[in-house]
Symmetry: C2
């Protein structure tokens, strides 16, 4: 089918585009490469060197013989979004194109407002383009498990049946997100759900867990096809960061007790989930929610697994909790709908961890130990990062 991937230059967008292309879909890739400018701002870089967006597309043509349709542009520009949707006329739009770091959104007021405006406006523009041009286009939107927070009841997939004072209704699952970034995804979910109701568009909201891993069958076919791997304190996801700390011979830093439990999945499962969602579209007018993760672990468990998988000594160190979150909480999130569609999970085992450690060792010389630091504290309204363009203290 014809699939447009928005944010196709990112950690997950790029391997998703290749996976869909390899599977025989006709793929368009769209990005403005703003993710790379966040690196410039933070003074950090992907552990794995990555080719330019243009070179990647060229390399895929050399390796596979397939030419991806591509656009460089900013999705906050409504005319740009309308133009590319009208020209490519996708059957599905996979939307990764958002500022996706919780700490980045919590740096200061400027980064908070940027994150919310960028993400909400991007998504509104995509929704309007679909409704205007072809309401049959299926929107596959990346949400996050962080939209739910940590309620003291089971987390369902998007909706919950509530019986209250003798009456019953099925309502959107209440949201208690963890950061201004997670809030932007909550806002998106509400906006898209409304658009499904009033315009009959079809959408799948994929509330994704924390992704780990870097290699996929397609990206390892050529060095210029590799996707980025972030280990820094602002963009690195927890398991990827622990692996890099272990390889750098540094203690794995667990903030607080590490009792915070999160859903997680292998990068290869992200790709499979996206394709499953595309191949099994939501109904007309349906706002469908899948919880996209395969297992749950506490942060401390992640650290212990990395320690146990590595063939060198690894220390685990507890640091001050920089986020505002519960460290000891109930967590049971349902995630059966993607399994029902046929997802075959790659569960986190020693073999996967050893491969991640081996890949990281190849690039160990590129690790900047200063990048691990958790520089953003949720309790500060302004975190004065040397390179973040934060305002001077008022």
């Amino acid at each position: 089918m014809k699939i447009m991937v928005l944010g196709a230059d990112g950690y997950l967008g790029w391997p998703t585009a290749l996976h869909l292309s390899k599977k025989g879909h006709e793929v368009a890739v769209v990005d403005n490469c703003v993710r790379r400018s966040y690196d410039l701002e933070m003074g950090v870089d992907s552990l794995v060197p990555i080719a330019s967006f243009q070179r990647r597309i060229q390399a895929w043509k050399e390796v596979s013989g397939i030419e991806l349709t591509s656009w460089f542009g900013d999705l906050t520009d409504p005319d740009f979004v309308h133009r590319i949707v009208r020209e490519f006329r996708p059957e599905a739009i996979v939307h990764f194109a958002e500022q996706r770091s919780a700490p980045y959104s919590m740096i200061d007021q400027k980064h908070c407002v940027y994150t919310q405006v960028n993400n909400v406006v991007n998504t509104l523009n995509v929704v309007y383009a679909i409704a205007d041009i072809d309401p049959d286009i299926h929107l596959v939107k990346l949400g996050t498990m962080g939209e739910y927070g940590t309620p003291n009841i089971d987390i369902e997939e998007g909706y919950i049946e509530i019986t209250h004072k003798g009456r019953t209704d099925t309502l959107p699952y209440p949201k208690q997100p963890h950061s201004f970034y997670h809030l932007s995804k909550v806002h998106d979910s509400h906006n898209i759900q409304f658009a499904c109701r009033v315009w009959g568009i079809r959408a799948t909201d994929l509330n994704q867990g924390v992704v780990y891993g870097q290699e996929t069958p397609e990206t390892i076919e050529h060095p210029d096809l590799l996707t980025r791997y972030d280990y820094d304190g602002v963009f690195g996801t927890v398991l990827n960061r622990f692996v890099a700390q272990a390889v750098a011979g540094l203690p794995l830093t667990v903030y607080g007790t590490g009792g915070q439990t999160r859903g997680t999945l292998d990068v290869r499962d992200t790709l499979a989930c996206i394709e499953l969602a595309c191949m099994n579209p939501a109904n007309q007018g349906e706002f469908r929610v899948f919880n996209q993760f395969t297992e749950s672990f506490s942060v401390l468990q992640f650290a212990e697994m990395v320690r146990d998988a590595y063939n060198k000594p690894v220390e685990i160190q507890h640091g001050e909790l920089v986020r505002v979150e519960k460290e000891d909480h109930y967590y049971n999130a349902i995630h059966t709908r993607l399994l029902d569609l046929g997802l075959q999970p790659h569960l986190l085992n020693k073999d996967t961890l050893e491969k991640m450690l081996a890949m990281t060792e190849k690039y160990a010389h590129r690790i900047d130990p200063a990048a691990f630091k958790a520089t953003v504290n949720w309790r500060n309204t302004t975190n004065y990062l040397p390179t973040s363009g934060s305002p001077l203290p008022r």
Copy 2:
């Protein structure tokens, strides 16, 4: 106490500022008068002529001897918001300053994005200013009953206790808003609730019903103190519009069956509720929600009450439903918390309606029959209004 009213040039902001001033509070008023520019864009005007923001402030000084502190400025400018909060150092900030028309937000993509960005960024800027300058400042934020939609269970005040698979938690009440405007208020609520959690600020979210009426004890003291009265299809609230249609000798237009039920309140009760919220602040870190209305009626009931109160013949006409909403639904919304604080409601009776009709008759010569038209249909992604700056058909 020291109270800053944001959006103090509007329908409710202005009489609220006067009411608080009359009660002995030290009041600052802030607006950029953008509400008046929506009138210019739509080619409509308040039924009651209103003095300029500057002249109103002067007139209040002449009448009461009290000088309001005032600023003209845009709350999407973060430096402006920080400056005024730092200079005035209020104990409470009453925040009315949002684009507040559902039809306006549904005109087209530009108006949708404008509404969400304006309202969300305004509110984030206010929240950051409070957290930075003095987290003790109590934010009294105008929300809307429309955030809840029409669930098939009782609507509680902001939170609901849910028992699910044998476990229980009290969670934010699920939201199913009716328009991109209502969605912007849902986004605000989530953002503010998060800020209370991470920074310990105190906030009251007033989920207000549909307000009717125009005269308050303070505004009738001088013609230059009168507040606006909107009867047009985009900004006019339903009862105000019906009263103007009756006086104009036109049929009261009920869209659909008129079975849509909404909470409502007298403009004088808005003023009382705001003062009660200010005088009884939320606790540190508390995100408190009050449902601010006094009675519920269906749209058809409003029409029938106006017909029955008027001394001239009035016809009720049903038109095509232009919004996407349920016409026949369960509606029972709890609203006891403001009553518990001492609210003495003005219930909707014949006397109130007769006064509204008499006031409207005074200005009958200013009614533009064309303004009544419901020009915005929810099902269109673009409503081509002659004067709305809508894009040309693509």
